[in-house]
C-alpha cells in the first residue's frame, strides 16, 4: 500500500467497550472469584478492539473452567499466562492499524534500498565512520586505562609516597624517591594522628630466584613491611592479607603460585629464596592489573630479609635504599604534614643532607602515574600526561574526520535526491514524514557503522594491547562504554541527518522537479574547508610518523661502544656464586664455546652506581661532578667487547693493576685531560680511606642508559668481589644453539641450584627503544587510518562532483576538450586544496615536533625532506583518488551524458 495514500480512519468500536468489562460468572459460582483485573486491563490495552469481545469471552470461559477443575489461584495464574500469550502480532493493536508503524516500516525499507542501490557510496560512508569510531574507542579505552592507574587499590585516595627534594650538586634541584629506614621509623612514631599506616619497600626492584623443588624461576618481587599488603589491599585467592606476619614469609601472585604449585592451595607450604632460605607461603593474591604500580611484582615478601633479618637495620640513617608509603588519615593537609615531617627529620641530618637542603614532600597515589615529573623541584607536565593528551587529541581528530566525511557525503548525496523529494511531495507526503525518512536513513547508516566498529574493536584489541603494552579488557560489560557509544551514535545520526532533513524537505516540489535546484555556494565552500581540514591533519600525522621513526633511527645509528650481539648476560641467583666465580669462568672457557667471560657489579645495560670524591692533578677547583662507577673483572672488557682508544685493559698478571682504572671518553673530556694515560686520580669516598689510582686505558663511550641520552662519564675499577653479573661472549664460529647448550651444561654442574636463565644482551639493549617503538607503531596505525579516512571522503566527494558536472563534461567533450584537459579541470581544484592543507600543516607540525624533540638529548633533525615527502605524498594520494573519478568522467561517451531527459 502506498504510504501516503489516504486511508479510512481505523475502526475503533468505542461504543461497545463498556460492555466487555462486565464479568457475569455462571450463577452460583461467584465464590470462585473473578479473573485478575490487572491482567484484563493489560489485555484490553494492547488488544485490538475488534478482538476484545471474543477473546475476553474465551479467557473467561477458560478461567471458570480451570477454577472449577483446579483452584481459583491456578485459574488466576493461568489467566495471566493466557494474556501474555496474546502478545502476538495479529492481536496487537499497535502493529498494523496505527499509521506511524507502517511509515516506520516503509522508511526502513526505503533507507535499506537506498543503501543497497548505492553500494560503493554506502561502503565508503559506513566503513569510514566505523574506522573513525574504532580509533576513538581504542584511544578512549587507552586514555581511561591511563587515568585509572592504581585505582585497583582500595585506599587509592589516602595513600601517598614520601619523596625527598634536594640540590643535585650541579645547581639544580632533584626529586628522589630513595629514603633511609631511619626516616620511616621516625615518621611512623612521630605522627600517629595524621598517618594511619606507613610501610617501607626496598626501592630497587629485586629479581631473586623463587623455587619449589625442581621448579625454579627468576621473578621480580616487592620486599616490604608486614603491613604493606593490607594498606595496599590485594584480592586474596588463598590465605589472608596478613600473610607476611612471619619474617620468613611470602605472598605469591596467582600466576606464580600456579607455576610453582599448580592448582593446589600453597598456603602453609614453603618456597626457597635464591636457593638459600625457606619462606612460608602466607597467601595467594589475584594478579595485579597492568595499570598498577606494583603490577610487575610476582610476589610480596618481607623487607627484613634483604637486611639479613636484622631489626636494627630499620633505624639506619646513611643508606638511602627504601621507598616510604603512608596511608593518611582523613582531612590531613598534605603540604602541612610534609613540612612537619621535614622539621622532624632535620634533627637527624648528616652533613651532606644539610648541605643539599633536603626537604620532603608527599606524592599522592592519584599522581603517581601521570604527574610524576619534576623540574627544579616543581611538578611539570610529565611525558605520560603529554601522551594522554596527544592521543586524546588524535582520537578526537580522527573521529572528527570520520564524522565530517560522513556528513559531507550524506549531504552531497542528498542533493541528488531533490527529485525524489519533489515526487514524494506531489504524491501528498507531509514534510514531517520526509524529515523522519531522512533521519531514519542517517540513523541506519550510523548504526551499521557502529556495528562494524564493534567487530573491528573486537578484532583489533589484542593487537592494540600488545602494541601499546596494555592489558585492556573488552568493554562489553562496561556501562559507560555503551552510554558513550549510544550518545555518539545518536549525535552523529542527528547531526548528519539534519541537513537533508531540514533543508531538502523544505523544497517546493515544482522547483525541485524542474531541476532548477543548484547547491548553494556556501555548501561547496564549507565542503572545501572540510577537505582542507582533513588533509591538514593527515599531512601533519605523516610528518609526525616519519619524524618519530627518524628519531628512533638516530638513536639506533649511534655507536654503542660495545657489542651486545653475540653476548649473553646472567645474574646467577645463588649464595655460592661468589666462591664459584673463578671455577665457572674457567669451566666455560674450557668448553671452547665462549671467547671471553667477565663479571661486573652492575649490568652493562644500566647506569647504576654513582660516586663522587674524585680529584686529580690539574683539576678545575670548581669541579664537583659524580662519576658512573662500576667494578669489573678481568675478561670483562673482552666479553662486552669494549673499544680502547688509548692504553690497555687490566692485565691479570700485573699485581699493580688493582690500583689502576679505566675511564671512558666522556670522562676524559669532563676531566679535561689531554693525555690521560698515567694520570693519577685520587678517590676519596667518605666511607673509606682515600686511595690513588692510575689511569691505564681510555675506552669509547658505551650506551648503557637510554640511547636517547648523552653517555655518562664513567670510571671502571678492577674488583671481582662484589660482581654479581656475568657476561659471556659466545664463540662466533659455533651456532648459538650449540654453544648455549654446552655452556648451560657446565653452568648447571657448577651451580646446580641456580637456573641458567640467560638473556641475549642485544635483546636487553633493544628494550631501551621500546617506548619509542611503541609510539612509532601507534602513530603509524593512526596515520594510516587518518589517511584512509580522508581518502575515502575525498573519493566520495570527487565522484559526487564528477557526477554533478556530467553534462558540462559532455558539452566540453563535444566541443573538443581532450581527456587530459578534462582530467586537469576536475583535479586541479582538489590539488589546490591539498596545497593549502600543506601550508597549514607544515608550520604546526614543525612546532609540535620541535617541542617533542626538545625533551631528548639525542635527537634527529627536522629534515626538510620530511615535510616535502609528506606534502608530496598527500598530493599524490589526492591526485590518484581524484583521477579515478575524473578519468572515468572524462572518457565517458558524451552522447550518454547529454542524451538523458
Amino acid at each position: 500500500m502506498p504510504p501516503y495514500a489516504l486511508r479510512a480512519p481505523s475502526q475503533r468500536e468505542d461504543s461497545t467497550m463498556k460492555n466487555f468489562k462486565n464479568h457475569i460468572a455462571p450463577s452460583g459460582e461467584t465464590k470462585r472469584g473473578t479473573p485478575p483485573r490487572l491482567a484484563e486491563k493489560l489485555l484490553l490495552w494492547f488488544l485490538k478492539d475488534e478482538l476484545a469481545e471474543e477473546v475476553l469471552g474465551d479467557l473467561d470461559e477458560k478461567f471458570y473452567s480451570t477454577a472449577e477443575k483446579h483452584s481459583t489461584r491456578k485459574a488466576r495464574r493461568n489467566y495471566w499466562y493466557q494474556v501474555i500469550n496474546y502478545l502476538r502480532p495479529f492481536a496487537f493493536r499497535f502493529f498494523k492499524f496505527k499509521n506511524s508503524n507502517t511509515m516506520f516500516n516503509h522508511n526502513f525499507k526505503v533507507s535499506y534500498r537506498q543503501m543497497l542501490k548505492n553500494k560503493g557510496y554506502s561502503f565508503i560512508n559506513i566503513g569510514g565512520l566505523a574506522m573513525g569510531m574504532v580509533v576513538a574507542m581504542l584511544i578512549g579505552l587507552w586514555v581511561k586505562d591511563e587515568l585509572t592507574f592504581n585505582q585497583n587499590h582500595k585506599n587509592y585516595n589516602s595513600i601517598a609516597q614520601m619523596l625527598r627534594v634536594e640540590s643535585n650538586g650541579q645547581g639544580g634541584i632533584a626529586v628522589n624517591n630513595a629514603l633511609a629506614t631511619g626516616m620511616g621509623t621516625l615518621v611512623r612514631e612521630s605522627f600517629p594522628d595524621q598517618i594511619e599506616d606507613l610501610f617501607m619497600v626496598r626501592a630497587r626492584k629485586q629479581a631473586p630466584i623463587i623455587g619449589n623443588g625442581d621448579k625454579k624461576f627468576r621473578e621480580t618481587g616487592v620486599f616490604l613491611e608486614e603491613n604493606g599488603p593490607s594498606v595496599l589491599t590485594l584480592d586474596m585467592v588463598y590465605g589472608s592479607i596478613d600473610g607476611l606476619k612471619e619474617t620468613r614469609s611470602i605472598m605469591l601472585s596467582e600466576t606464580l603460585s600456579t607455576k610453582l604449585f599448580g592448582a593446589e592451595n600453597p598456603v602453609g607450604e614453603t618456597v626457597k629464596l635464591n636457593a638459600d632460605i625457606d619462606l612460608l607461603v602466607g597467601g595467594v593474591y589475584k594478579d595485579l592489573p597492568k595499570n598498577s604500580k606494583f603490577s610487575d611484582a610476582a610476589f610480596f615478601s618481607r623487607l627484613l630479609l634483604l637486611f639479613r633479618e636484622n631489626e636494627e637495620s630499620m633505624n639506619v640513617w646513611n643508606n638511602y635504599n627504601i621507598d616510604i608509603y603512608v596511608k593518611l588519615a582523613n582531612n590531613v593537609n598534605q603540604e602541612q604534614l610534609a613540612e612537619l615531617i621535614t622539621e622532624k627529620i632535620k634533627g637527624h641530618y648528616d652533613d651532606w643532607a644539610r648541605e643539599s637542603g633536603q626537604t620532603f614532600i608527599l606524592h599522592p597515589m592519584q599522581d603517581w602515574h601521570l604527574r610524576s615529573e619534576w623540574k627544579d623541584g616543581k611538578p611539570v607536565l610529565s611525558k605520560e600526561m603529554k601522551f594522554v593528551r596527544l592521543y586524546g587529541v588524535i582520537g578526537v581528530f580522527v573521529l572528527l574526520l570520520a564524522c565530517i566525511n560522513f556528513m559531507n557525503l550524506s549531504t552531497a548525496r542528498s542533493e541528488k535526491r531533490a527529485k525524489e523529494v519533489g515526487i514524494r511531495k506531489t504524491l501528498g507526503s507531509l514534510r514531517k514524514q520526509l524529515i523522519t525518512q531522512f533521519y531514519m536513513e542517517s540513523f541506519l547508516y550510523t548504526i551499521s557503522a557502529f556495528g562494524l566498529s564493534l567487530v573491528l574493536l573486537w578484532a583489533l584489541l589484542p593487537w592494540f594491547n600488545e602494541t601499546a603494552g596494555k592489558g585492556i579488557a573488552t568493554p562489553w560489560n562496561l556501562l559507560e562504554f555503551w552510554l558513550a557509544c549510544t550518545a555518539f551514535v545518536l549525535f552523529t545520526a542527528v547531526v548528519s541527518g539534519s541537513y537533508p532533513a531540514t533543508y531538502l524537505s523544505s523544497f517546493k516540489p515544482i522547483k525541485a522537479l524542474k531541476g532548477g535546484l543548484r547547491p548553494g555556494k556556501g555548501a561547496s565552500h564549507s565542503r572545501k574547508v572540510l577537505v582542507v581540514f582533513q588533509f591538514t591533519i593527515s599531512i601533519a600525522l605523516i610528518i609526525g610518523t616519519i619524524t618519530v621513526n627518524n628519531q628512533i633511527q638516530a638513536a639506533k645509528d649511534r655507536p654503542i661502544g660495545y657489542s651486545p650481539k653475540g653476548m649473553i648476560a646472567l645474574a646467577p641467583g645463588s649464595p655460592r656464586f661468589g666462591q664459584q666465580k673463578e671455577l665457572m669462568k674457567q669451566e666455560i672457557l674450557n668448553t671452547g664455546m665462549a671467547e671471553a667471560v667477565g663479571f661486573s657489579n652492575y649490568p652493562v645495560t644500566s647506569t647504576l652506581g654513582w660516586n663522587h670524591g674524585f680529584s686529580w692533578e690539574g683539576m678545575d677547583p670548581g669541579f664537583d661532578q659524580s662519576f658512573n662507577t662500576i667494578t669489573i673483572s678481568n675478561g670483562y672488557a673482552d666479553a662486552v667487547d669494549m673499544e680502547f682508544i688509548a692504553g690497555r685493559d687490566f692485565d691479570p698478571n700485573r699485581e699493580t693493576d688493582k690500583n689502576a682504572i679505566l675511564i671512558n671518553e666522556s670522562a676524559m673530556k669532563a676531566m679535561q685531560l689531554e693525555n690521560p694515560i698515567g694520570t693519577v686520580v685520587k678517590y676519596d669516598p667518605s666511607w673509606r680511606d682515600a686511595v690513588n689510582y692510575t689511569i691505564i686505558g681510555v675506552v669509547k663511550d658505551m650506551i648503557k642508559g637510554s640511547p636517547f641520552q648523552q653517555t655518562d662519564q664513567s670510571i671502571m675499577f678492577l674488583d671481582q668481589e662484589y660482581t654479581s653479573y656475568m657476561y659471556i661472549r659466545l664463540n662466533p664460529n659455533v651456532s648459538p644453539s650449540e654453544s648455549l647448550a654446552a655452556i648451560g651444561e657446565v653452568y648447571s654442574q657448577v651451580l646446580p641450584e641456580a637456573p641458567f636463565d640467560f638473556h641475549f644482551a642485544d635483546d636487553q639493549y633493544n628494550q631501551k627503544f621500546e617506548a619509542e617503538l611503541r609510539i612509532g607503531s601507534l602513530a603509524k596505525f593512526f596515520t594510516l587510518l587518518a589517511i584512509l579516512i580522508s581518502c575515502l571522503g575525498l573519493f566520495g566527494l570527487s565522484s559526487f562532483v564528477a557526477e554533478q558536472r556530467t553534462k558540462e563534461i559532455g558539452i566540453r567533450k563535444v566541443l573538443g576538450a581532450s581527456v587530459l584537459n578534462l582530467w586537469q579541470l576536475l583535479s586541479k581544484d582538489f590539488a589546490l586544496l591539498i596545497v593549502i592543507a600543506c601550508l597549514i600543516a607544515i608550520p604546526i607540525s614543525y612546532q609540535v615536533l620541535q617541542g617533542w624533540l626538545n625533551s631528548y638529548e639525542v635527537k634527529t633533525q627536522l629534515y626538510w625532506w620530511v615535510f616535502a615527502v609528506a606534502g608530496l605524498g598527500g598530493l599524490v594520494v589526492t591526485i590518484a583518488t581524484v583521477s579515478f573519478q575524473a578519468l572515468k568522467a572524462a572518457v565517458s561517451n558524451p552522447v550518454r551524458s547529454l542524451r538523458s531527459e
Partner: protein, 113 residues
Amino acid sequence: MKETKLGDFEETILLLVGILDTEAYAFKIAEEFESQTKRAVSIGAVHSTLNRLGEKGFLTSEMSGATAERGGRRKRIYTITASGQRALEESKDFKLSLWRQYPAFAGNLKFGI
C-alpha cells in the same frame, strides 16, 4: 501472496475445527487440542493460528449469538471453507502416498492381512 501450505500445528487445528463443528471457537479448540494431544497450548497461540488460517482462506468465521456463561459475550465460530477442505485432503493424500512408498509399512501390510 500468502503461503497456502499447511503446517503441522495448522493442520491439527483445522481438523479440530472440523471435528468441533458448531462449537469451534478458540477456547474450545484449545481445550480439545489439549485433551487430544496431551500437550499444553495457550488460547492466544490457537487464536493466532486460526487467524492465519483465515487469512489463507481455509477458514471463515462469524460471531455467534450471545450466551450467558460468557457474560453475554458472543463467540467467534470458525468453519472450514472448501479450499480448507481441499488442503486437508491434499495433505492426507500426500502423506498416504508417502506411507505407501515406505518399505517397512508396505511389508507390514502384506503380512498383516
